[in-house]
């Protein structure tokens, strides 16, 4: 058993943490949220220069050949800093699909740009009535002479407004909820027939509703194999789920520490509120919730390359624990900060909002409990 980081991993932790400390303060983040773009392109390019965008990709693709542990390290730090840049969408999710299913041509044309910070890719996996079921796809891809025509609607595409390309799931055969018959396509965000409605999300990110109205793509746009996109998508989403579990762990750590510090200094009835036993026990419960969440986040990230069933159970177990812990830690952090916890000015509410979205993202607690128990 070894839960220690390697020396290289420690260097990565230092590098990301230094960035969060020096360049991603709360005021910087607030300014980013208020900006039109909703992210900082220069910081994104800096991520590229620092090698963070190349971490999970194979060395033959020009990547660093990192394991899920490196992704976990980055995401945990991003959780501490509430980073809004499109790492999850572009590197983890789209990157996961391209790593596992990209054609040599796609890898050659897309990955170098992506790793350098010049190309942002989002993934449209959800539809208005699909909820969390990745197989519930009614967007159609009809084969034409040399390619396909896409028709349908993808909902809440995270980081859609800033994406240069979008990978979407569409049905090349089968019924609306069949796992077979789903194909993934790499589409230019500006292709004819693509319309977007962009909006901010409650946790400060940006998302789009994507309407595909007769979008023509070539056969070379297929990621993976025709009709077999589901398993590819499921694995990438599992990887992304494990990644947001790590992000949540980072966010919970900040909330727990901030609440602890507040309880030590906030004086009511002549003493710091941390002297009251009810507050002490609450902080202990938050600490336990955080540690339990961290344990399963690590477990899930270490099992991403296990056989499918084992991977699915590990990821679902982690997501359930994260969902429960995140809700508890988030709600208690707001409660114990009192009125201040309710304000937009203090960072506590912002962590709480991100944790609330993470609880839903890629399937909420009920969904993953069912998947685990199935």
């Amino acid at each position: 058993m070894d839960f220690n980081y390697s020396d290289e991993q420690k260097l990565l932790i230092d590098s990301v943490e230094r960035f969060i400390q020096d360049d991603y303060g709360f005021d910087t983040r607030r300014a980013i949220l208020k900006s039109d773009e909703g992210f900082r392109r220069d910081l994104w390019q800096k991520f590229g220069e620092l090698g963070w965008l190349a971490v999970p990709f194979a060395e033959e693709d020009g990547g660093l050949g990192g394991t899920p542990v490196e992704t976990m390290i980055i995401m945990e730090s991003f959780g501490r800093g509430l980073v809004v840049e499109p790492y999850l969408s572009t590197v983890v999710l789209a990157g996961g699909l391209l790593r596992a299913g990209g054609t040599p041509a796609q890898r050659e044309t897309v990955l170098p740009d992506l790793m350098a910070g010049g190309l942002i890719v989002a993934v449209g996996y959800a539809e208005p009535t699909s909820r969390f079921n990745l197989a519930d796809v009614s967007t159609t891809a009809t084969a034409t002479g040399g390619g396909y025509v896409l028709k349908g609607r993808k909902s809440v595409v995270l980081h859609g407004p800033m994406a240069d390309k979008v990978i979407v799931s569409a049905r090349t055969s089968g019924g609306q909820r069949d796992e077979a018959g789903i194909t993934l396509f790499l589409v230019d965000a500006g292709a004819a027939g693509v319309t977007r409605q962009d909006y901010p999300t409650v946790d400060g990110l940006r998302a789009s509703e994507l309407v595909l109205d007769g979008v023509a793509v070539g056969a070379d746009a297929v990621v993976g194999e025709v009709g077999s996109g589901f398993l590819l998508l499921e694995k990438a989403v599992d990887e992304a789920t494990a990644a947001i579990c790590a992000e949540a762990v980072g966010a919970m750590e900040v909330l727990h520490k901030a609440t602890l510090e507040y309880a030590r200094t906030r004086v009511q009835f002549g003493q710091p509120i941390g002297r009251f036993q009810v507050i002490q026990h609450r902080l202990v419960d938050m600490y336990i919730a955080y540690e339990q969440a961290k344990s399963l986040a690590i477990m899930a990230n270490l099992k991403l390359d296990a056989p499918r069933e084992e991977r699915r159970r590990a990821v679902s177990a982690a997501k359930v624990q994260i969902g429960k812990s995140a809700r508890f830690v988030g709600q208690q952090a707001v409660q114990l900060h009192g009125g201040m916890g309710m304000t937009d000015e203090l960072n506590v509410g912002h962590y709480f909002k991100r944790l609330t979205m993470i609880e839903t993202l890629f399937g909420n607690t009920d969904y993953h409990l069912k998947r685990y128990a199935a």
Partner: protein, 397 residues
């Protein structure tokens, strides 16, 4: 024991229901049903409609404009308003300072202030909390120094709900620092247009502007605006907080919330079937409904005690704790039902712009409502404080 309403109560219920159906303006209803940001004009208009009917202050003694209803009738009235989703009665005038004025104020103060409260022509706000004194209210520091026939007020208040709309403020101020904390506090009323007052918005995490900071810089307040006796403010404040707590169970509103959850769960699909058919969701909804029913009957029992002349005691803290927990749980389940569409921040639409919402209209504001409702277990004496009250006053610990 008898759980049913009497024939008179049922007739009264029909009367209220018919009145609300005929007089609740459709545009206000549409605004509130859509979950949009509240507007001052809507509150005032609706309160004036109730005022003209003579129903705006059911809890007041008849001599001051009350209805003379029994506690059961008052309960029925609240239920009917809640079911119709009318704007809540803004409590600062009618539920808070009004009762303090008719109970402790001078005849002159009653004549001067009560009519404007009843007619909703004067909007009040509450100056209690301060940055350093939240649940520990008695530690407040805002100072009022008597100079001849006026007080000079310096300090600041925070979490002042809807102060941006207020004409007057009722304020707890420290008039004596040399005595025990609770004994040096006085209860002052003053005009928000007085020179030296600055109101600064506090934006909450849901993006809304409900609360404010108020700064007082040498604000002059005529001494005739002191309620009761100098140094007795704590007594009046405690009296007021007792009033604030009644009605805080919000049973009628939570019932409507659960009805709306069922609507959403019928419309939203999970694996091609309505979410309401999902066993987990269904179980949570059922548990919540049972929890609310328990709260409803706890409130009815409290009400029955009140009818027998026993005022609301520390047991009303149960209503605060469970009422707020249930309100919060309803918004949690709404977020769960919303799925991914709960992510969209429809801020402009929420503020009444014509921008269409992203996703189903019923779930468009689920997440902001969830964030906003976190306040309920903090304000009005946090739920931790309510538990201390029960531990001490009820359980004798």
């Amino acid at each position: 024991m008898d759980l049913s309403f009497s024939a008179e109560d049922l007739a009264f219920q029909r009367e209220v229901r018919a009145f609300v159906a005929e007089n609740y303006p459709a545009d206000i209803k549409a605004h509130f049903d859509a979950g949009l940001e509240p507007r001052k004009a809507d509150f005032v208009r609706w309160q004036k409609i109730l005022f003209e009917k003579g129903w705006v202050a059911p809890a007041w003694p008849q001599q001051y404009g009350g209805t003379g209803w029994t506690p059961t009738q008052r309960y029925i009235f609240q239920e009917e308003l809640g079911a119709a989703n009318t704007p809540g009665i803004i409590p600062f005038g009618l539920s808070m300072v009004g009762p303090v004025i008719y109970t402790f104020g001078s005849e002159e103060q009653k004549k001067r202030f009560l009519p404007g409260i009843l007619s909703s022509d004067v909007w009040w706000c509450q100056g209690y909390s301060e940055p350093g004194s939240g649940s520990d209210l008695a530690s407040l520091k805002t100072k009022a120094v008597r100079q001849g026939d006026k007080y000079i007020v310096n300090g600041s208040k925070t979490w002042t709900t809807m102060a941006q709309w207020a004409d007057w403020i009722f304020c707890l101020v420290r008039t004596d620092s040399s005595v025990k904390q609770q004994e040096g506090i006085s209860f002052l009323l003053f005009d928000m247009k007085s020179p030296g007052i600055t109101v600064r918005p506090i934006i909450t995490m849901d993006g809304g502007h409900e609360v404010n900071e108020c700064f007082f810089d040498n604000v002059e307040v005529p001494a005739e605006n002191l309620i009761g006796q100098e140094g007795q403010g704590w007594t009046y404040a405690k009296f007021l907080l007792g009033h604030e707590r009644s009605g805080i169970a919000a049973v009628a509103r939570s019932k409507r919330g659960i009805a709306k959850l069922k609507q959403i769960a019928n419309a939203e699909l999970s694996d091609g079937r309505p979410l309401i058919e999902d066993q987990d969701y269904r179980r949570k909804l059922a548990e919540l409904e049972i929890d609310l029913t328990a709260l409803e009957y706890t409130e009815l029992r409290t009400l029955a005690r009140e009818s027998q002349g026993k005022g609301p005691g520390p047991e009303s803290s149960i209503l605060k704790i469970k009422g707020t927990e249930i309100q919060q749980a309803i918004t949690e389940l709404a977020v769960e039902a919303a799925g991914y569409y709960g992510f969209a921040f429809n801020h402009r639409a929420m503020n009444g712009s014509n921008e269409p919402v992203v996703g189903p209209a019923a779930t468009a504001f689920a997440a902001p409502a969830y964030f906003n409702m976190r306040k309920t277990s903090i304000y009005g004496g946090s739920n931790e404080i309510q538990k201390n009250i029960i531990a001490k006053m009820v359980l004798g610990l």
